[in-house]
Structure formats: structure tokens, C-alpha cells
């Protein structure tokens, strides 16, 4: 019997409570402060996320014995805890990066929405009940739609918000249909009880497989895996860049934690079936994402396609269907999140100084700002999977997991894709380091919040890459409670 309430459960959802309070607090500060001070909201918001991060580490750490809480609505475990930290970290960095975006100045609601969407992600990471899960996904998505369309005067941003909303609403409706089918067949909504009911074997695998596919549509949208990726390039391009950074990192990671948890927990009866679907999705995502990225001229679109490809690499970890595979997925996501945040930080700073997101305009960046060029070098090499950076170790573990599970063909497709990826990352670096431009003498100003964000991310990339032991331990611990 799952206890419905216990006072210790409050500690488990402490981060979420704090996030909600924090969202309200920001709105209040926004009302009270004079407009001249309001550009400090970025600092405040980042500070708030940092405090919540620390509090989470100190008080919300799951006990080994703890499991389902609040009547089975949530699960307080290592994967949830780990991902909460990832989301809070990404939210903090996003706030720092937003401090420079003029349209977010003096807009308390911008930061409040980030806090709310982070709250939704935290719930996604912990949900163990279909109803809770659906609520969490919507709590994440709706603020995200608004944020994507936040630049009201910018047509692209509005388009981005609308597109994101339409795709999101459509796929979540399909996912919800899948949820109702599962409930209809079993009478359960808790994903752990679902598994028991489904494993009884009374249900035809076809029906079960069908509902699994419907559910996968919603998750596939969240992680932007092919064939549910169509929204991402346009949304990434149009949204305010810090929000793009956030969508491409935290939101994707949130999609992954749900995907991993639900698939492993609810559908063990048809593992072979969904894992082959996911393997196909992984191959398609890597290949299509990388190939289309080759042709991109806009850096945000390039990163959009690259993020589709990265979803594919991460999926390999799940397809491996092993504890090490799940650990490699978690590790990969951590590496990817810090790396992509660093890449977007450079994009934001450059766009603010040069007013352009075209790759060709990055010419001469290494002369205009050697530091920024170096940060981009580190981020892109990490995305390409070069040591001693985080991306290398991430890819290494994912491919290792594939080889361990005798999926050597999948590892080969992965490494071939890594080569295609290297090509377009190098193409950008070539423009940055090799080509010259007329504005070479014009330096690029780097504001304090942005440089802090950049330094943190670059250090994290190098640290995770060169000393990956403790991080892997952590990922392995987290992965074990998924099985």
C-alpha cells in the first residue's frame, strides 16, 4: 500500500514549492521595483534558481528506500532528483543569458514563466502516474509556448510561439488518447501498476503496441526526435535565443526522463517492440538531423538540427535496454545540456553585438573576441564529441552501451553520424577562425552575467569530460532505480 501522505513527503517536493513561491516573488519584485532597476531581474532570477538548487541538494536528496509518494502520484528517486538539478542549472544559466535580452528587461513575467516551466519539468521527472504526468507536461509546455512567442513585435517569434503551441497541442492530444486507452484497458493510471496489469498477458500485443506508439508521439515531440521534429527548427529560430537554449536543453532532457521512465516502467511486456521503434527513431534522428544540418546557413537552425541528431544519440542509450545504457543516456544528457547552453550563450552574445545569426557573419570572430571564439570552439568540439570535453565521454558511453548490448550496427551508425556532425561543426569553426571580415576591429562586448554563464558552462564541459568518474557514478546510481 502506498501511503497517501507523510510529512517527509513535503521535503521531496520542496524544490517545486520553492519554485512556485519564487515565481510569485519575481512578479512581486517586478511590481515594486522602479523600471531602472529591473534589468537586474536576470541576476535575481539566476540567484533564486541557484538557491533552490542548493536547497534541493541539501534537503531533497532521496533515501534509498523511498519510492512512490502522494498516493503514487510522484516517485521520489535518484533519476527524478538528478534531472531536477539539471533543470534548475539550465534555468539559472538561461536567466543569466536573458539578462542581456532587451525585450526581457523589466518583464518579471518572463522570469516567472521560466520558473513555472521549470516547476513543470520537475514534476515531469518525478511523475509516476499518467494523470500527474499529463498535468506536468502541460505545466511545462504552456509557459514555454508563451516564452517562445515572447517577442511580440517580432514576426518570427510570434510564428515560433504559435507553431510550438499547435504542434504541442496536437501531439499531446494524441498522447492523451494513448493514456486513455491504457487506462481503459487496465483501469489503472499509475505507471508501475500499469505494468503489472499489462504483463498479465490478456491484452493483445497489437493493442498494447498501438497505445505505446500513441504515447511515444507525445514524448517524441518533447525530445524532438524524427519524425516528430518538424517544429524544432522554426521554433528554435524564432524564439528569443535564451528560450531556445532552454527548450533545446532542459525541455529535451525532461522529455527524455519521461520517455525512459514510462517506457521502462509501463511497457516491459512489449520491450522488444518499442525498443525497435525507438532504434528506428534514433537512426532517423541522427541521420536526418545531421544531414540537414549540413545545409544550414543560420546558426540557430544549425543547432536545431544538431539537437535533433543529439536526441538520436541519446536514444541509443535507451535502446540498449541496460542499466549502463540508461546511465549513459543520463550522462549524455548532462553533457549535452552544459554544452548546448555554452553554444547558445555565444550565439546570444554575438547576435547582440553583430545583430546577426547567419553563420557567414561569424567571420573574424576569433579576432574580434578570442575568448568568445574559444568558448564556441570548446562547445562545438564537445558537440562533435572530441576529448577532453564532455561530449566525447557522453558519446563514448552511449556507444559502449550499444556495443555491450550487441547493437554493434547501431554503434556504427552512431559513429558514422558523429563524422557527419564533425563536418558541419568544423565548417562553423572554420568561419570563426579562418575567414576575415571588415568588422575585425570591432570588439564584442561580453556582459558580466553572460560571461559568468559562459565560464561556468565551459568549465563544466571540461570537467565532465576529463574527470567523468564521479558523474558516471551518479548516472549509474540514477539509472539503477529505473530498472
Amino acid at each position: 500500500m502506498i501511503p497517501s501522505y507523510d510529512s517527509s513527503m513535503i521535503l521531496a517536493i520542496l524544490p517545486e514549492i520553492l519554485l512556485l513561491a519564487f515565481a510569485g516573488l519575481i512578479l512581486a519584485i517586478d511590481l515594486i521595483w522602479r523600471p531602472s532597476k529591473q534589468h537586474n531581474l536576470g541576476w535575481i532570477s539566476a540567484g533564486g534558481f541557484l538557491v533552490i538548487l542548493v536547497v534541493t541538494i541539501l534537503f531533497s536528496r532521496p533515501e534509498p528506500a523511498e519510492g512512490l509518494i502522494f498516493g503514487g502520484m510522484l516517485r521520489h528517486d535518484w533519476p527524478a532528483f538528478t534531472f531536477k538539478l539539471i533543470f534548475l542549472f539550465a534555468a539559472g544559466i538561461t536567466s543569466l543569458l536573458s539578462a542581456d535580452v532587451r525585450s526581457a528587461w523589466g518583464k518579471g513575467e518572463y522570469y516567472a514563466l521560466i520558473a513555472v516551466t521549470t516547476l513543470g519539468m520537475n514534476m515531469m521527472a518525478a511523475s509516476s502516474d499518467l494523470i500527474m504526468l499529463y498535468l506536468a507536461i502541460e505545466t511545462t509546455s504552456i509557459p514555454m509556448y508563451i516564452l517562445a512567442g515572447f517577442l511580440k513585435v517580432d514576426e518570427k517569434s510570434t510564428e515560433s510561439g504559435l507553431k510550438y503551441f499547435l504542434f504541442g497541442a496536437f501531439t499531446s492530444a494524441i498522447m492523451l488518447y494513448g493514456f486513455t486507452l491504457l487506462f481503459g484497458f487496465t483501469g489503472k493510471t499509475n505507471i508501475y501498476q500499469l505494468a503489472e496489469a499489462l504483463q498479465a498477458g490478456e491484452l493483445s500485443p497489437w493493442v498494447l503496441g498501438g497505445s505505446a506508439i500513441l504515447v511515444l508521439v507525445g514524448f517524441g515531440f518533447k525530445v524532438s526526435a524524427v519524425p516528430f521534429h518538424f517544429w524544432s527548427p522554426d521554433v528554435y529560430e524564432g524564439a528569443p535565443t535564451p528560450i531556445t537554449a532552454y527548450i533545446s536543453t532542459a525541455s529535451k532532457a525532461a522529455g527524455f526522463v519521461v520517455l525512459v521512465r514510462v517506457m521502462l516502467a509501463a511497457f516491459p511486456a512489449i520491450t522488444e517492440y518499442w525498443s525497435s521503434i525507438l532504434a528506428a527513431m534514433a537512426v532517423a534522428s541522427m541521420t536526418l538531423g545531421n544531414l540537414i544540418a549540413l545545409a544550414q546557413k543560420n546558426i540557430k537552425r544549425l543547432l536545431a538540427y544538431s539537437s535533433i541528431a543529439h536526441a538520436g544519440y541519446a536514444l541509443i542509450g535507451l535502446v540498449a535496454l541496460s542499466s549502463f545504457g540508461a546511465a549513459s543516456l543520463i550522462f549524455y544528457l548532462v553533457a549535452y545540456v552544459v554544452t548546448n547552453l555554452a553554444a547558445f550563450a555565444v550565439v546570444i552574445l554575438f547576435a547582440r553585438a553583430a545583430g546577426s545569426e547567419e553563420i557567414s557573419d561569424y567571420a573574424g570572430l576569433s579576432r574580434r573576441s578570442p575568448g568568445l571564439a574559444l568558448a564556441l570552439l570548446v562547445a562545438f568540439l564537445s558537440l562533435a564529441g572530441m576529448p577532453p570535453l564532455a561530449g566525447f565521454v557522453g558519446k563514448f558511453y552511449v556507444f559502449a552501451a550499444a556495443v555491450q548490448s550487441d547493437l554493434i550496427w547501431l554503434a556504427f551508425i552512431g559513429v558514422i553520424n558523429a563524422i557527419i556532425g564533425l563536418y558541419y561543426y568544423l565548417t562553423v569553426l572554420k568561419v570563426v577562425y579562418l575567414y576575415r571580415s571588415e568588422d575585425e576591429e570591432v570588439p564584442i562586448p561580453v556582459s558580466r552575467p553572460a560571461s559568468l554563464a559562459l565560464v561556468v558552462c565551459v568549465l563544466a564541459i571540461v570537467l565532465i569530460g576529463s574527470l567523468s568518474g564521479p558523474w558516471l557514478d551518479w548516472a549509474v546510481d540514477a539509472a539503477q532505480s529505473l530498472f
Binding site: P388, F399, F412, K430, G469
Partner: protein, 490 residues
Amino acid sequence: MDFPFLSVITFIPIVTGLLLLLLPAERKNAIRWVALSAASLALLFSVWVYFSYDTSLGGYQFEEQYTWIEQIGVSYHVGVDGMSLPLVLLTGIVMFTGVLISWGVDDRPREFFAFLFILATGVFGVFVALDLFMLFFFYEIAVFPMYLLIAIWGWKVTREYAAMKLTLYLFIGSVVALVGALAIYFTADMQSFDLLELEQAGLSTAFQRFWFPFVFFGFAVLGGIFPVHNWSPDGHVAAPTAVSMFHAGVLMKLGAFAALRVGIMLLPEGAQFWSPLILILATVNVVYGAFIASVQTDFKYVIGFSSVSHMGLVMLGFATLNRQGLTGAGIQMFSHGVMTALFFAVVGMVYDRAHTREIPKLGGFRKFMPLVAISFIIGGLVSMGMPGFSGFIAEFPIFLGLWQKAPIVAIIAVLGIVITAGYIMRVIRGVFFGEVPKEFEGHITPINTFDKVALYLLSGILILVGVYPAVIAPMIETGAISILRLVGGA
């Protein structure tokens, strides 16, 4: 605890590289001096280690081991044996002379030396690695900076193309080898990436035969084996002088060495099975490479293809899987590294002054730079395998070994040496002798002291090894013997 020599050698370059990035970019001379001191330090340490190695004991010495990633059994494990130690020394030499030769780099020297030094750390790391994961880790570090070094500082005409081609070739090779390495790790099922432990894994014959080509040829791409040698001449030519020296002198050895360490030593039965194929391909390397070199009119392309030809001899030595062949291959790696570094240094000095590398347009350079001419001739004699120079010490045992294994291959491969003599003489005559074209009269500046030091050092080593082979042969022989213990054909 003993002084961690190998770690110090490995990390001096990268630490210096990062420090350089912190210096202000305008202080170019300070940057050069910092780079030179770091390179000298690394060279001194490698010389010290080289002469402290006890050849009577053999095996791995100067070992250090620390846990790195405990979960999957990765440790930071370094050590050198008779095969790898000369290569560490070689890297030290090439790094030192490379910095000397690059004194004239004026476009962002800070970044140039930083990237060059990151590369050097990768190279040292691979040569001293005794852990499979670590070997990969450093291998990739060594491959990547090459791209920037060639693309930014290279020859304007082909640098973008050549840099991309090189990087993609090498990356493809290394990731294919990576999958093979992972297969070895999981099949051995020892929860360890340690090379010494994996050597004892007792992998099945079928497994070894299946995976050997992936691992061996994956790495051998960087060793320039036919038919995936194509990146190398283009890369050599497009690279700036110091990078060409590094590239042909050290990086190609990196590929050959990793193919030996991972391919042959971990999968010895696979090596036995596939050695005929390696023999054939490497013979093509030797003969075909020499042929192509002999029809080039561009000075640097001649040397570029000669590297392909000479690396073929290294691969031939490996494929013999006997004592003479392996010893010869080891000496050849060292000798070719020094020789080709010397060649590229000379090409760079000529090109910087003549602004052309077309052999028909050059001539009479011995008048302007006699020392350069003499050095090139010494390198040429090494290249032809003339007794008294290091090339002979290397090639003679290779052919001895080859004769035992497959006499017909030995006969064909010797052709390569003959052709080599032909094109080397042609270059010497075309560039250093004959009439001085009118446009060069009075425009050729002499080389500076840094260049001279580099040339003296490189040609001195070639002669030293040639007249006193005991300085290197016994050491490499201990390495060859320990490889043969694994292959089982001693």
C-alpha cells in the same frame, strides 16, 4: 614515490598551451620564448627518460597508475617500453625543432603555439598510454588541433580542403577503431580498459579475426596505409612547416603505433591471419608512393609522397611479425620521423625565400644556404637507406625479416628504395644545384640561428643513429621481443 616523469612530459605542453592563451596576444616574442622553454623542458625530460631506461630489464618502465573512471575500469596508466620510448623522444625532438622553425610565424602566434602544444600533449599521451580508453582520449586530442593548424596557418591554396579531408579521414578511422576497442572491452569482460590486462584476455580466434581489420586499419589510416593514405600528402603540403614536421614526423607514427599497440598486441591471432593483406597493401605503399613521389614537380609533394612510401616500410615490418621486422619497423618510425621533420624544415626554409616550390623553377640554392643543402642531402641519404645513416639501420632489418616471411615481397619492396634514390637525387639536383634562376639572385636571405640549431640537431641525430646504432637498436629490440611474446612467433 618516483618522480612522475611521463606525466610531466605529457602535460608540459598542454599546460603551457593554456598559459599561452592567457598572455596578451601582442607580446609575440614573450610567447615564442615561453613556447621554446616549454619545448626544451619537454625535450630534456624525454632525453633523461630515454637514457634512464634499463634495456637489460626491458618491459614497461616509469609506470604510473591512478584510478580515473572506476565504474568501467578506466585508469590513468602510463609507462614506456622499448617501442614507445624512442617515439616519446622523437616527439620531444620534433616539438623542440618545430618551435625553433616557427619563430617567423607572425599571424596569431599565441594561438598557433597553443594549438600545437595541445596536439603535442595528445601525441605524448598516446605513446605513454597503457590504458585503452586513455589511448583513445589522447588520440583524438592529437587529431583535432591539426584541423585548425592547417586551416588557419596553412598554404592558402589548398588549406581548407586539405584540413577538412585530413580531419574527416582520421576521425573516421578512429571511430571505427573505437567500436572495435569497445568490442574488445566487452568481450574480454574484465571490467578493465588496461592494455596489460586486456593482452591476457584470451579472446577467441574467430573474434580476433573479425575485429582485427576494424582496429588495425582504423588506426592505420593515420599511419597512411594504402588505400587510405590520400589525406596525407595533401595534408603535409597544406600545413605550415612546423605542422608538416609534426604531422609527418610524429602523427603518422601515432597511427602506426596505435595499430601496433591495440591491433597487433591485443588481437595477435587476428594479426597472424591478416598479415598477408597488410603485406600486400604496405608493398603498394612503398612502391606506389615512391612512383608518385618521383613524378611530382612540387618539392613538398615529393616529400609528402615519400612519407607514404616510408610508412609502408613500417607497416611491412609490422606484418612480418618477427623479431627483425618489428625491430626494423620501430627504428624506421624513429628514423623516418627525424628525417621527414628535417625534410619539411628544409622545404619550409626554401619556400619562405623563393615563394615557390616548383622544382623546375628552383635551382642553385646551395650557394645561398649551404647548411640547408647539406642537411637535405643527409636526409636524402637516410631516405635511400645508405649505410652510415639511420635509414640503413632501419631498413636492413625490415628486409631481413621480410625475406624470412615472404621473399617475393622483399624483392618488390626493394624497388621502392631504388625509385626513392632516383627522386631524391632529382630533387637535390633541381633545388640545390644547377643554375640559379635570375629572379632569385640577391633576394635570398640567409637562415637564422634558430633554423640552424634545428638543422644541426636533426641531421646530427640521423648520423648518430647511423654510425652508432647501439643507441637505439637494443631498446627497440626489447620492445619487439615483448610483442613477439604475445604473437607467439619468437
